[in-house]
């Protein structure tokens, strides 16, 4: 093992390489080996319960099963749209949520029913170009609502590129700073464009237009030790369909949301913190009762995400799980009555 790991990928001695290498290798090796072993085990045991591990299940097939609690005609037979074709009915009462495959990180692109655009996080630094080109391919010129859930590099790394590449409307972020260059770059990009930020915290609504509601339900407090708990959590309701975007909110924040007694139920849950066991507590999962869950996670990451406890809990709850490391970018589509997977890459 003669390489450092950068963003979950083995990085052969470049840049930081030679000097730091030896120092950390010896200390890191044992932990690393254990992690790899754990990961292998997890991958093997998990292979059966994730949506994309079922090759016999064609894209869109999920729509025919378990429509139970969702009224209206299921959009069965919805074929994955060809690239560039997906925006054809934008602004015609369709809500799309694209969970971009950005490796270990989050980036979620929402096409709102009125044609406006929301972006929640922009992946790690190295995914900036990918996020920008994905948005361009889908005809995006302006991001009406830009949300930075919290200032960790795997969520805001690509955001300066996004800010510099598009016309930006309203910007929402929690009122917490960190000392990284990555965070500074985001602030600089906002400043260059003369943009101001609105505080993302519980009770703040985003003016997304008629028939649609988007409200932050976290953070509910302040002074959290861990930036993850500063994550802005957004609940979007479109007709009968609710989506919950949790950033990296952990147990502490989940408990506060539960204790507040606010509606948490959602048809689709963006699983917090890449499926880490520090999030998605059974009580929270029970309150959300999602039909679908998306885990945005990098293949073979160093942290063992998603953790097997979380996957087990999701399985026990009968949730259909989509992982970006296996499915690639996953797109959900809703007309306000039904919700279904529209396409996925892999």
């Amino acid at each position: 093992m003669s390489s450092l790991r950068v963003n979950g990928k083995v990085m052969p001695g470049k840049l930081i390489g030679k000097s730091l290498l030896g120092l950390f290798q010896r200390c890191g090796c044992r932990i690393l080996a254990r992690l790899v072993a754990l990961l292998l085990l997890a991958v093997l045991s998990i292979a059966l319960i994730t949506g994309c591990a079922l090759p016999e299940q064609p894209p869109g097939a999920e729509t025919s099963g378990g429509q139970g609690e969702m009224a209206g005609s299921p959009s069965t037979g919805q074929e994955p749209a060809a690239a560039g074709d997906e925006s054809s009915d934008a602004g015609e009462g369709v809500l799309r949520a694209h969970f971009l495959d950005v490796g270990q990180g989050d980036a979620i692109f929402l096409e709102l029913p009125d044609g406006r655009v929301m972006l929640i996080d922009a992946g790690p630094n190295e995914a900036g170009t990918k996020v920008v080109s994905y948005l361009r391919e889908h005809g995006v010129k302006r991001i009406d609502f830009l949300i930075a859930t919290h200032p960790h590099a795997d969520h805001i790394g690509g955001m300066d590129a996004v800010i510099r590449s598009f016309d930006i409307g309203a910007v929402y972020m929690p009122r917490v700073a960190t000392g990284t260059k990555t965070f500074e770059e985001v602030l600089l990009a906002l400043k260059e464009k003369g943009l101001k930020a609105k505080e993302a915290k519980s009770g703040v609504s985003i003016p997304v237009g008629e028939g649609l509601a988007a409200e932050f339900i976290a953070p509910r407090g302040s002074g959290y030790e861990d930036l993850n708990n500063w994550s802005s959590v957004l609940r979007v309701c479109y007709g009968d369909v609710a989506l919950l975007f949790t950033g990296d909110a952990e147990a502490e924040s989940e408990m506060e949301m539960l204790e507040a007694g606010i509606p948490l139920r959602a048809d689709l849950l963006k699983v917090a913190h890449h499926g880490s066991s520090s999030s998605t507590t059974p009580r929270f999962l029970q309150a959300v009762r999602p039909k679908y869950a998306v885990i945005s996670v990098g293949a073979g990451n160093d942290y063992g995400h998603p953790h097997k406890e979380t996957l087990k809990n999701l399985e026990k709850a009968g949730v259909q799980v989509y992982r970006t490391d296996r499915c690639g970018t996953v797109v959900f589509r809703s007309d306000g009555r039904t919700l279904a997977v529209e396409s996925r890459e892999k």
Partner: protein
């Protein structure tokens, strides 16, 4: 220009360190107690010349034995 390392976050047993726009992991145990996210840290690496000479010598000896004739 000074090289600045910043703690981006903690992930399990790892600390994710940012160097400019790159991040890499180091074991959390290497950080002093009380180190927090967003802290600028110092990483000092020195070359151990004595150990280097010793290792070179051992390798040289082994290599010499390896060659035919």
């Amino acid at each position: 220009m000074a090289v600045v390392f910043v703690i981006d976050r903690f992930e399990g047993d790892w600390a994710v360190i940012e160097l400019d726009r790159l991040t890499f992991n180091i074991p959390k145990v290497l950080l002093p107690e009380g180190a927090r996210e967003g802290d600028v840290i110092e990483i000092k690496v020195s070359v151990n010349k004595k150990a280097t000479a010793k290792r070179r010598k051992t390798a040289q000896k082994m290599m010499n034995e390896l060659f035919e004739g």
